[in-house]
């Protein structure tokens, strides 16, 4: 007890207990916090989004199939997307082709090439080729290809220029704002239905696109859902 009282009644220290620099401390702490805040915000903005997490995902495929050689009007073969993804206009799911589809040509073209060994094996045994899925929406999102494709929304809007890619990679973010940006203003994207697989197609001018698009929206009674239950059903 005595000791405690002595301690409390001790004489005040001479001069300043803190160094002079401490006067600036609150200011410095504030600046550091601000800069840290900016860095963290920038990092979250850059990394915690589909644009970072998913865009650019380009997995190796079991067979080195090359879209830029096979598909699209500018490619060597000029195959239409629907030759292989033949259900895209008819069903919600756009199928990856069966091995038979490749064999239509490859039974004659290089059937013994080592690059096609897995395709040949699949034809013989009936085992599926395990293509690695690239584009994925979360399972709580409902998506349907045929509604989009039959209303003049081209593959390029959501998949980018697949016809220029040797290996398929995700090019669009496919996050919720991506979908909604178009659902709010579909006239920016709609094109004649026979041009959906012509990925290089563009209206003559942006003004023409809006004019045409507005006409399609009206004529086809296009009404993309913006309410939550449209996509989360």
């Amino acid at each position: 007890m005595r000791k405690l009282l002595d301690y409390l009644n001790r004489p005040a220290p001479r001069g300043n207990f803190f160094s002079r620099g401490v006067n600036a401390a609150p200011f410095q702490i504030l600046v550091c916090l601000l800069i840290t805040g900016v860095v963290v915000t920038a990092a979250v903005n850059e990394y915690a989004t589909n644009k970072y997490l998913n865009v650019g995902y380009t997995p190796d495929q079991p067979v080195a199939f090359d879209h830029s050689f096979h598909a699209g009007p500018d490619s060597v073969l000029g195959l239409d997307c629907r030759y292989c993804h033949n259900f895209v206009e008819k069903s919600g799911h756009s199928n990856v082709p069966t091995t038979n589809t490749c064999w239509n040509c490859h039974s004659q073209v290089k059937p013994d090439s080592p690059a096609l060994a897995l395709v040949k094996k699949s034809m013989e045994t009936g085992d599926a080729i395990r293509w690695v899925k690239v584009h994925k929406l979360p399972d709580y999102v409902y998506f349907n290809h045929s509604v989009h494709v039959n209303r003049g929304v081209s593959c390029v809007e959501c998949h980018g220029r697949i016809d220029q890619q040797a290996v398929v990679g995700q090019q669009k973010a496919l996050n919720m704002s991506f979908c909604l940006d178009c659902h709010r203003n579909p006239e920016n994207a709609l094109r004649p239905v026979d041009k959906i697989t012509d990925l290089a197609w563009k209206a003559e001018s942006p003004a023409k696109q809006i004019e045409q698009g507005t006409k399609f929206v009206h004529d086809w009674k296009v009404n993309p859902p913006q309410s939550c239950s449209g996509c989360h059903r």
């Binding site: 997490l53 380009t58 073969l77 000029g78 195959l79 239409d80 799911h93 064999w103 709580y140």
Partner: protein, 237 residues
């Protein structure tokens, strides 16, 4: 403070050099820190499944069963007088008549029913338009846009001796002009020799539409003078 800022700068540089920027190409499966309910354990179209020996979600239908989701109502399917429309009008799906000979013309009835009656089948603009679309997607690579057998898969061989399919038939040849419609339909459905069938990709309606369009192309390359409209004739002369 300067020490903290230097530390922060090093941390940022380390992070950016490790993580890169948006749009960076990567072969690694995207990582989800909080995967919420993004990927649920359910069967999906063309999904993978480790439970079954063939590794697929999709199961082949058991023999004698009807696939779900093709708009058949159980009450109808199980009634004693139920008939599949295909069995009411088999020539529409086989291209052959009751005796097994190829149909010469187009089938008289379609698969569509109204009040239990099969509807008439007729070739019109819409059918030809469907046929044109399907022909250009599925046939033109090999047989060419004019069905003359000069699609890219054949002409390739002339470009620097590239691999090509040399057996591709010229659909303008007299022998194929002489085929009954049903025979062309059959080639599309089941293929022939070195051509594989397209029955898995084209519905019977679409196959007949392609037959109609092939006939139109044949006519276009060999049009009798009296079928040419007068206005066009005037232009040619």
């Amino acid at each position: 403070m300067s020490r903290y800022l230097a530390f922060l700068a090093v941390a940022v540089i380390a992070m950016v050099s490790f993580l890169g920027f948006q749009g960076k190409k990567s072969k690694d499966t995207p990582v989800y820190v909080f995967d919420d309910m993004d990927y649920q354990n359910k069967y999906k179209a063309q999904g993978e499944n480790t439970f079954f020996a063939d590794g697929r979600d999709a199961r082949p239908p058991v023999a004698g069963t009807v696939a779900r989701g093709n708009a058949l109502e159980p009450s109808k399917v199980f009634s004693p007088n139920y008939r599949r429309t295909e069995s009411l009008n088999p020539s529409f799906v086989t291209g052959k008549d009751a005796k097994g000979a190829f149909l010469v013309g187009f089938p008289a009835k379609s698969l569509a029913t109204a009040k239990g009656e099969l509807q008439d089948y007729a070739i019109n603009d819409r059918v030809l338009e469907v046929g044109r679309g399907k022909f250009q997607i599925y046939c033109a690579v090999c047989h060419g846009l004019a069905a003359d057998g000069n699609g890219i898969m054949k002409t390739r061989s002339k470009i620097e001796g590239d691999v090509a399919i040399v057996t591709i038939a010229n659909l303008q040849a007299p022998i194929i002009r002489g085929y009954p419609n049903g025979q062309i339909f059959d080639v599309i459905t089941n293929g022939k020799n070195t051509m594989m069938g397209y029955g898995d990709k084209l519905s019977p309606e679409e196959r007949w539409a392609v037959v109609a369009y092939v006939r139109a192309l044949q006519l276009s390359q060999n049009c009798p003078a009296d079928l040419v409209p007068a206005a066009v004739k005037a232009q040619i002369k």
